[in-house]
């Protein structure tokens, strides 16, 4: 029921609203203009006084795509869950961490020590990835069933706070289990070194990251678009009551949605470990927030949006500092890649909350 305001209230409310939007509007325009000027100025300066060779620019781009691949895989989980529950699952970064932590401690470490890892690298990686996915899925399903499901009908802020709590719970659970020190992820001999590509050399690990991500995204697209369960996920995302009237078990479908996102995060965890060669109980936090940024950037709720947002964010982070910060005379611009990422999050939220591919979603479902 909407209360009808008295005319007096309505008028003064309207006036206040107008004044508000005016001031906010002007500030936003100034903001926009300043950033635009800075970016353009920085870019021009960087290009005039180009401190990098073409090869270095190519390296930035390749690194951006590889980094963006991982963001894309993690972002899928945010976007899928948002699509069906309109909830931001801030514990998703922990799903990413849990799988690869467990696989590193129980598998990768011992396998490397026994020499099995480098004797059967492909088989080992396959096993490590499957175990990582399985643990991530298990953690996700447990979280969903215990922490989120009872809150399905609660106001939207409640599951959000619960998600933050769940995130802390899993961080300290895994810290308790595996300790707080940084654990090395063993180096695979077949993945050391580079391969030549377009006049530059690409790290083999980056090639693996990009290829695996493409395979996973194609597989996910098939799952969501073609299979019966994928169609059910889309049906539940649109209308839970009608989905139930079709005989779709909504609770089960929601659980499958969480599991799908977590499986992607489990793979992303292994790719992350291959590139950075270490794991830690807190490793899910920053990539989780970054992937959330990527999902918002692409248009949260949209699966292709999450993928595109991930690649974009990786690219911005990697090319951005050299392109628009270096030219402004900022020292050590690459230290500031996180600043670029989070500035972008704020700007997307202010200027284009629906993201790159966002449809009417934000109006309909907000």
């Amino acid at each position: 029921m909407e209360l009808i305001p008295t005319p007096l209230n309505a008028e003064s409310e309207m006036r206040a609203k107008l004044q508000d939007t005016d001031i906010i509007g002007i500030i936003l325009w100034i903001f926009r203009a300043v950033i635009l000027v800075l970016v353009v100025w920085g870019t021009i300066a960087a290009l005039l006084d180009n401190p990098y060779s073409t090869r270095q620019w190519l390296d930035f781009i390749v690194f951006g795509i590889a980094q963006g691949s991982m963001y894309a895989l993690i972002a899928i989980g945010y976007t899928l869950v948002y699509g069906v529950l309109f909830m931001i699952n801030f514990a998703h970064g922990e799903f990413f961490m849990s799988g690869v932590m467990t696989a590193t401690v129980f598998l990768a470490g011992p396998m490397a020590a026994s020499g099995f890892l480098n004797r059967n690298p492909i088989l080992s990686l396959l096993i490590i990835t499957l175990v990582s996915m399985a643990v991530s899925v298990l953690v996700a399903v447990v979280t969903e069933r215990i922490a989120y499901k009872p809150l399905r009908k609660a106001p939207r802020l409640v599951p959000l706070i619960t998600a933050i709590g769940a995130s802390f719970f899993w961080q300290y659970f895994f810290r308790g289990l595996f300790g707080s020190e940084v654990k090395p992820f063993p180096q695979l001999e077949i993945l050391t070194g580079t391969i030549p590509f377009l006049g530059t050399d690409i790290l083999k690990t980056h090639v693996v990251v990009i290829i695996v991500t493409i395979i996973m995204l194609v597989g996910l697209n098939f799952f969501i678009m073609r299979t019966k369960i994928g169609k059910a996920i889309r049906a539940v995302a649109e209308d839970k009551d009608v989905a139930a009237l079709m005989g779709i078990d909504v609770d089960r479908t929601v659980t499958i949605t969480f599991a799908t996102g977590a499986a992607m995060a489990g793979v992303a965890g292994v790719l992350f470990a291959l590139v950075f060669r270490q794991v830690h109980f807190f490793m899910g936090f920053i990539p989780g927030i970054k992937a959330f940024t990527a999902a918002v950037l692409g248009g949260i709720g949209s699966v292709p949006g999450a993928a595109i947002g991930g690649f974009f964010l990786g690219m911005f982070e990697s090319v951005g500092p050299a392109l628009f910060l270096e030219g402004l005379g900022i020292p050590a611009p690459h230290q500031l890649k996180d600043v670029i990422a989070f500035t972008m999050l704020v700007f997307v939220l202010i200027f284009r909350p629906q993201g790159i591919l966002g449809e009417r979603l934000s109006e309909e479902k907000a």
Binding site: A232, D239, D241, A244, L245
Partner: protein, 237 residues
């Protein structure tokens, strides 16, 4: 034994007492209609049958079995299918994906594709648009799709919530013709309608709802000739 027996059902939305002791029976093979004004509790009655809303008191029996322990998706397995109010097609899914969802709980591939052919015979327009996203269909086509989708579950009891709503008069005629066809093929229909005039032409019996209570029940003919019904629902003075 009646196919559907709704006995003294009380249902609430929060604290609002929406249904105050509704009793309805539907025999196999019938078309039964519930008529009444907006907010009388017609849709709520269908929701309590389909399991979307659980009655706080009273019971719903289908072929003698109490439906209370079953959630909405399990009631579908029992042979009850619903065309929801406002059609409720999945607007981002294609026409054929919507139909697949109708047959979600079935696994007999042969039967499903035979039923797909059958609903395309019934609604040739849908076959032309099978790869189109449902959100781009016209209102009449969406109604066809919602009906076709419910039929894909091969229901023994079809619940229809205001199938004529928002449709041009010509389309209303064809929707009601289809309901008669579906019924002739052996599906029992419980029809909720504001368009009492049309509903009482195809139904065998009807109930009149008013503020959550049944105020009248009779054969369709009896209701058509009832002066109160004529005045309140048929627009005849």
């Amino acid at each position: 034994m009646a196919m559907l027996e709704v006995h003294d059902v009380h249902a609430y939305y929060g604290n609002i007492h929406a249904l105050k002791g509704i009793s309805i029976t539907v025999e196999e093979g019938e078309i039964v209609t519930l008529i009444g004004a907006n907010g009388a509790g017609k849709s709520t009655t269908l929701k309590t049958i389909s399991g979307l809303l659980k009655p706080r008191q009273g019971h719903v029996h289908l072929n003698g079995e109490d439906l209370a322990p079953f959630s909405a998706h399990e009631v579908v397995y029992k042979g009850v299918s619903m065309v929801p109010e406002g059609r409720g097609v999945f607007s981002r899914l294609t026409v054929s994906e919507n139909l697949d969802m109708g047959a979600f709980h079935r696994s007999d591939r042969g039967g499903i594709s035979a039923d797909m052919e059958r609903v395309f015979d019934l609604f040739p327009r849908l076959e032309e648009r099978r790869t189109q996203v449902a959100g781009t269909l016209s209102g009449g086509e969406q109604q066809m799709l919602a009906t076709a989708r419910a039929l894909m579950a091969r229901p023994s009891l079809l619940l229809m919530d205001e199938p004529s709503m928002g449709l041009a008069p010509v389309l209303v005629e064809s929707v009601f013709d289809t309901i008669v066809d579906i019924n002739k093929e052996g599906t029992t229909v419980l029809l909720v309608e504001q368009n009492a005039h049309m509903a009482l032409q195809i139904a065998s019996r009807g109930y009149v709802l008013q503020t959550g209570e049944i105020v009248l029940k009779d054969s369709a003919e009896g209701l058509r000739e009832n002066p109160t019904v004529q005045k309140a629902y048929l627009g005849i003075d």
